[in-house]
Symmetry: C2
Subunit: 159 residues, 2 copies
Amino acid sequence: MVRYHPDPENQFGVEMGVFKQLEAFASGDSLPLGDVLAELPWNADGLLPAIAQQHDSGEVLMLAWMNRTALDETLRTGRVCYWSRSRQALWRKGESSGQVQMLRELRLDCDGDTLLLKVDQTGPACHTGRRGCFYTRVDGDRVVVDQAVQIDPAELYGR
Amino acid sequence: MVRYHPDPENQFGVEMGVFKQLEAFASGDSLPLGDVLAELPWNADGLLPAIAQQHDSGEVLMLAWMNRTALDETLRTGRVCYWSRSRQALWRKGESSGQVQMLRELRLDCDGDTLLLKVDQTGPACHTGRRGCFYTRVDGDRVVVDQAVQIDPAELYGR
């Protein structure tokens, strides 16, 4: 069931965007996926940030970027595909290292400009061979590395 | 103790950036915070994405943006301050709603272009009055709202 809050931006009959509609939904209400994907607010480069979180432990593994093609492929295949800004190419996570990310759940934030991927990550997600990319912690006036390398990158990438 | 991996970009004596240095560190090694902050790769707008994660439950609450001023204030005060891209102003989380975020831990990713904030969030983090912003889940060919509003936004913002 669709519920609308009173919305001043809508009082003259302007069609309300999907994210404004979702805001006013009760838990359990839904919209067609295609309608939502059609209104994602891609940035000037056609990208959205995507947070990858290990589905069971809750660890935030990394943040990368997706374009529409990468998102469609991820939803279709269940294997996470990003857009590499440095290589300007689709980046099927694990294609070089073998350390793939399988999608367990995809979430959107309230205005649709960030994706949250609950994933099942094989081995290290980080190119340094650590489990995740957030291995440095601010500790007073120092920045401390507090995660060990699991697999040497030379082994991961055959360098 | 600082350890260096062999790095082809460094063989002619070019100074290695802090993030390349951190990559090669063992767990427990550290650098001065000021040196790291000085090399953060701010985007063209002077911003970095910052993920806010509830420190104990692991729930990813939201993603927002910080500039250097917001980051410095957050580290100094322990209360999270972002940069609002829509308002083009510092945004002390909770300044309108009272729902503040206190910083428990700040992490940087491997190339320093994303911040991870472990926070203690009072009440709803989302402007819709829900606990977090990621309240919509892709479920087959639908997008489903699966979190209820905790506090009516009219109450939060006195509208």
